[in-house]
């Protein structure tokens, strides 16, 4: 891609150091205070709101999991999301049809229903789709009992997810156990992007990124390394605190919630892991040399070569 236009007068200065791999979303928040109707109740929300703020203030008729929405009252949380990727927050509006409540501006006069049949079905199907790509091995998970996906599935009365769960052990990504501070289990990642934003937008460390595309989309490292140990991570831990699932867990408590049975451990649940190489540890806040970002946009599969799909 050409980037000869970097000298454009209004182009932001090249933040060469940070490349999270994600799109620059527009500001999706409302421009002024608004009164909206949620399931028949009038709700007033301040400027800078999306529909979900009104939903949280109301007694809703339908269960709205809003799984990927990062709902914390702190100036830091303001910098995270909405990523609006899980689509488990869909609601019906008279004015715009079905919309994602976490990322739709709360315009004055909106009429919102949470128990609309199509919107309810959409939330259920999308939650099941999230589960279809999540190894539901809660019994060995360090976040068992404090996991937002588990909560959402329980609150939504999921009994048998339509598309099953990710249980093909052959296809599991190895556990990244190479760091002394943080363990990564990508088989539990829901790609909510919170960790990437915490690392880049809050901590401004530029370590984590979103990479790949399609079924191969994953969180990775901006220096191109395969393991946390070889990344430029400074072990601040912010990513762990925002992760809704057991994908990022502090070392030392990865088996804190594992049920006490012989052989039951987070590591055994995956069966393969990337370990620390034991090389001399970096001192705190030391950076590694940054690799060129890999070209992640070329695709092996094309229509001419659709591959063996069966």
């Amino acid at each position: 891609m050409s980037s000869e236009h970097a000298d454009r007068a209004d182009a932001p200065p090249l933040t060469e150091t940070i490349a999270p791999g994600t799109a620059t979303d527009p500001d999706v928040k409302s421009a002024e205070e608004a009164t909206v109707t949620v399931d028949g109740q009038d709700i007033v929300v301040p400027e800078g709101s999306t529909i979900i703020e009104a939903i949280e203030a109301a007694e809703t008729a339908g269960e709205v999991p809003a799984l990927c929405y990062y709902d914390r009252d702190s100036p830091e949380a303001e910098k995270i999301g909405p990523r609006s990727e899980c689509r488990t927050c869909m609601v019906e509006t008279d004015e715009h049809g079905m919309v994602p409540s976490c990322s739709f501006p709360a315009e004055d006069g909106l009429t919102i229903s949470t128990d609309d049949e199509a919107a309810t079905e959409a939330r259920d199907v999308n939650l099941d789709l999230v589960l279809s790509d999540h190894n539901l091995r809660c019994t060995t998970c360090g976040k068992n009992g404090r996991c937002e996906l588990q909560d959402a599935a329980i609150d939504n009365d999921v009994e048998e997810p339509r598309y099953g769960v990710f249980d093909d052990r052959e296809a599991y990504e190895p556990l990244d156990d190479s760091s002394d501070f943080i363990q990564i289990d990508r088989n539990k990642c829901i790609l909510c992007n919170r960790c990437v934003e915490a690392c880049n937008d809050v901590q401004v460390e530029g370590v984590l990124r979103m990479e790949g595309h399609g079924a191969d989309t994953r969180i990775g490292f901006q220096n191109g390394s395969e393991t946390m140990e070889d990344s430029t991570c400074v072990s601040c831990g912010h990513c762990v605190t925002v992760c809704p699932t057991g994908s990022l867990v502090e070392q030392g408590i990865t088996d804190a919630a594992t049920i006490p049975l012989p052989g039951f451990s987070q590591k055994n649940s995956i069966g393969k892991s990337l370990e620390s190489t034991g090389k001399e540890k970096k001192g705190p806040m030391t950076r590694m040399k940054r690799d060129e970002p890999k070209d992640l946009t070329s695709e092996a599969r094309t229509d001419e070569n659709p591959g063996d799909w069966l």
Binding site: T22, D25, R87, N126
Partner: protein, 486 residues
């Protein structure tokens, strides 16, 4: 050599290797011009020898054919040819021969393969660059609609949106999205000045500070002509050419913006608000296809026929792009491309609708009513193709090439592929697929995920028997090994 009136005798060589062939044929007294493709790619290199109001067409020409044609013209005659067309002595557009590869009168494609795509004076003489002011441009745009999925206003009027952008503060951009669609690439390659004429008019209408020409890195000729054309004259606004990666999703308007900004990884942006509010570097931006701007240029010059640029791809020797009246049919396009026998066509781009009935009008309303797409691409599935395998493969490609951002598309395409695999193992879960596809359509962030279901849904309707047969262990077209591995 630039005034068309001097070209009452001329030799034109059209197509990808035209420049080399044309250079080899230079002779005193006979102008030889390397022009862009006519859209009939199967005929290229195509030699068009013109003398005193008649043009002779020699398809698939080699150096000897070119030499023979120049010799004939030097002698004041025409070479042996597959077709001849009589026309005006001074002709500003390609005369249409009655040979396979061509169809109908042309308006936006009129100069493709006729005028010199490297010479702005040729366009200036044939049409003239418009200097219409903002109000005149907005007037001409009234009632016109965007064309193709790379257009932010696909099938929607855009004049009001432009008027809004004009009022908005901030450095404004105009993007010509010619990524991926063969008709858009053809326009950039063969008549870039028409596209720039329309786009610079748009820039005046929205009071833009920047103009970008964006195309796939795979369309090298289009990029090269675009770069030359951008540098050839002053358009009243700085023009920059940007190549995007050769992947389907890169044509999605917000991914086009991400590519123009230089992001190394492309994913869609949330909306609303759309690019007309926060586009390139967060500033107001209009994104339309090359076709949209070419049609606008025509309208500004008083030539606004209701036509569609249609490309026929798939199981054909080479892609063929034609221009047809909206009242004409998909069948006319495939006939022009020489398609006789086929299993079905995927109408409307990569995730268009599957149909066996091509007697459908080309107007967006007609295509929509038939649950087909309006992208202006008809992909032919040849005689020996199995429609069930086709949708399985297409869905699999969707699962591997989506941007990875949203669950209904990223995970939905994976599960839909699984369900299509299950058909081969005896389970045809029509209800489950319909439910899943409904949610992909209503909740995906961008048109990629919203369009994928159309291909599967229409195939299930059109080839219901074939789906049932596969589930029963039989592939009616005999191409799939059902029940085992393929």
């Amino acid at each position: 050599m630039t005034d068309p009136s001097e070209r009452t005798t001329a030799l034109r060589v059209a197509g990808a290797d035209a420049a080399g062939l044309a250079a080899s044929a230079e002779r005193d007294g006979v102008p030889v011009v390397a022009v862009g493709s006519t859209g009939a790619r199967a005929l290229e290199p195509l030699v068009v020898a013109t003398h005193e109001g008649t043009s002779a067409f020699v398809p698939n020409a080699d150096a000897d054919d070119v030499a023979a044609a120049v010799d004939a013209l030097a002698d004041g005659t025409l070479p042996d040819a597959d077709a001849r067309v009589d026309h005006d002595e001074v002709q500003a557009s390609l005369p249409i021969p009655s040979i396979e590869g061509f169809a109908g009168e042309r308006s936006v494609l009129a100069r493709c393969g006729w005028t010199d795509p490297r010479d702005p004076d040729d366009y200036a003489n044939a049409v003239g660059f418009s200097d219409a002011d903002a109000d005149a441009v907005l007037d001409a745009a009234e009632g016109l609609r965007g064309r193709g999925w790379g257009d932010w206003c696909a099938d929607e009027p855009y004049a009001d949106l432009w008027a809004g952008v004009r009022e908005r503060d901030g450095p404004t951009s105009v993007v010509v999205n010619a990524h991926g669609n063969p008709g858009d690439a053809l326009l950039l390659e063969s008549d870039p000045f028409a596209v720039l004429d329309g786009a610079s008019a748009a820039a005046r209408a929205v009071d833009a500070d920047y103009l970008y020409l964006y195309a796939s890195e795979a369309d090298e000729a289009a990029l090269e002509r675009a770069r030359d054309a951008a540098a050839a004259r002053d358009y009243g606004v700085p023009v920059e050419v940007v190549a995007g990666p050769d992947v389907y999703r890169a044509a999605e308007p917000t991914m086009a913006i991400e590519a123009i900004e230089g992001n190394h990884r492309l994913e869609a942006r949330l909306r609303p608000p759309g690019p007309e509010v926060e586009g390139i570097y967060g500033n107001p931006t209009v994104v339309h296809t090359a076709r949209t701007y070419a049609h606008l240029a025509g309208a500004i010059h008083g030539d606004a026929p209701e036509t569609r640029v249609v490309s026929v791809t798939g199981d054909v020797a080479d892609a063929t792009t034609v221009e047809l009246a909206e009242s004409d049919t998909v069948a006319s396009a495939t006939a022009a491309a020489g398609v006789d026998d086929f299993t079905a066509a995927c109408v409307g781009g990569k995730f268009g609708g599957i149909t066996t009935d091509l007697d459908v009008g080309l107007a967006p309303e007609d295509l929509d009513e038939a649950d087909l797409g309006t992208e202006g691409v008809v992909e032919v599935l040849g005689e020996d193709r199995c429609p069930v395998a086709f949708v399985g493969q297409r869905t699999n490609v969707a699962s591997e090439t989506n941007c990875g951002r949203c669950v209904p598309c990223r995970e939905g395409t994976t599960q839909l592929t699984e369900k299509l695999r299950d058909v081969y193992d005896g389970t045809y879960d029509e209800g489950g697929m319909t439910e899943l596809m409904g949610v992909m359509e209503s909740t995906s962030i961008c048109a990629f995920g919203r369009d994928v279901p159309r291909t599967v849904r229409t195939a299930m309707r059109e080839f219901d028997d074939a789906f049932e047969a596969h589930a029963d262990g039989d592939c009616p077209s005999g191409t799939c090994a059902v029940g085992g591995t393929q």
